[in-house]
Amino acid sequence: MFLAIFSPKGNDEVSPDATLMQQLLRKDVSAFEELYERHSRIVYSLVLRILRQGTTAEEVVQDVFLQLWRNSARYDLSRPFVPWLLTLARNRALDHLRLKSERQRRREEQTEEFPQIATAAPEYEKALDEKRRAERVRSLMGSLPAAQKKAIELAYFEGLSHSEIAASLHEPLGTVKSWIRNGLLRLKEELQATS
């Protein structure tokens, strides 16, 4: 059972990002600059992949980092920073990508101003640095059948629902649901195996 290996991170371990976020509470511009240097590339890469337009992507990235600066007090320092930042960036980019549909409002209600993400990151998060984890994610996704990989990408980068993906790929709804869930579970296994 995978859940068995997940355990809360020790509160005595303070990540560099959490330290910078603490400094951000005091409106420390150098801490903001450091956070930007550390994470702007992955945030911009994600937003650009979703929006496919450089100027708009930069506007969204600017919005994301200004949210970080202005609402730093609302960030829970006990939560892993990068997944939270990426979720915030993805939500902002999808907001730009689509009109205010019911699903989008639902996502906004679900995530509120700042995204609610894992309070307990898996152990393997510590075992891999960001670069190696990125490599593992790409390797695993590259090994999936093309249609399954496409289904996951449509869900994550396009924000499409199961039904929309099924219609887009001309595949049965049940198949699409299985592809997405099994793909994510395989990703979890891969990251666990690496750790």
């Binding site: 409106k27 992949r49 993400i117 869900a155 629902s161």
Partner: protein, 269 residues
């Protein structure tokens, strides 16, 4: 499959945001009921989903973006952390306001220039209209003069006209001549006629055959050469009812009755 297992299978799709509305509502209701196992699974699934960001091709934002951001946060930090509506502007006035002021200035200058141009154009048009009006007046006067000349010429040349010689009472004065057409009117002309006294003019009278009284007609005066030519289109009486023509010197504007002795007299019938 238990209800819990059913919801557990929806967790990953919910985390990535691909659940359709009905399933989404069901799962949210289940999570709200306090299922700790599913809540924890969802937190982990969200972390897992966030890792998909690494599938995006590597890209780097421009240095300008960093510059804009740092400029904004430095300004906000200096202002005590108050967010600014516009990211960059050292004066604190947003760029669109400057743009608006600039546009307004340009528009004002253009309007003033345009108004001057329009005023100049209107003045030119007014001057042109005035010139055209004067030209038209002159043409009308010329036309009237030509008509009068033609009318007079017809009176002087038509065989139905009767010539009347007006003899001066003063032998030193020239003789005048008149021509009366029964339908076209009466003309009188003369040469080397001395100018009347100051504020006086000459007036023609028709002496009625029945009453013998003078009937007032036109007034006139000679030019600097002593020449004059006058015409009466509608004489106050017919030729057959008129005994004679007489000319006196009268005050400016003429008189209803002669105020001086006739200077010229000519019999009509």
């Amino acid at each position: 499959m238990s209800t819990h297992d059913h919801f557990r299978e929806l967790i990953e799709a919910y985390a990535i945001g691909s659940l359709d509305a009905a399933e989404c509502a069901e799962l949210e209701a289940h999570l709200a009921s306090g299922c700790a196992d599913c809540v924890k699974a969802l937190e982990e699934a969200r972390w897992l989903v966030s890792q998909l960001a690494y599938l995006a091709p590597n890209a780097q934002p421009s240095d300008m973006l960093k510059g804009r951001l740092l400029q904004t946060v430095r300004a906000e930090a200096a202002a005590g952390g108050q967010p600014r509506q516009e990211p960059v502007h050292s004066t604190g006035i947003p760029w669109w306001l400057w743009a608006g002021v600039a546009a307004l200035l340009i528009f004002s200058v253009y309007s003033a220039w345009n108004e001057r141009q329009l005023r100049s154009a209107v003045n030119n048009l007014q001057q042109q209209a005035e010139a055209q009006r004067a030209e038209r007046q002159k043409l009308e006067q010329d036309l009237l003069a030509a008509k009068t000349q033609a009318h007079e010429a017809m009176i002087w040349s038509d065989p139905k006209s009767k010539k009347i010689m007006l003899q001066p009472k003063d032998p030193n004065m020239p003789q005048l001549e008149a021509m009366w057409h029964p339908e076209l009117g009466l003309c009188v002309r003369g040469w080397k006629v001395p100018s009347p006294g100051e504020k006086r003019m000459l007036q023609l009278w028709l002496i009625s055959k029945k009453s013998g009284k003078p009937m007032p007609s036109m007034t006139f005066w000679p030019d600097s050469n002593g020449t004059f030519s006058a015409m009466v289109e509608n004489p106050p009486d017919t030729m057959s009812d008129t005994q004679a023509l007489a000319i006196t010197e009268e005050p400016m504007g003429g008189s209803p009755q002669p105020t001086s002795a006739p200077m010229w007299v000519g019999g009509v019938s």
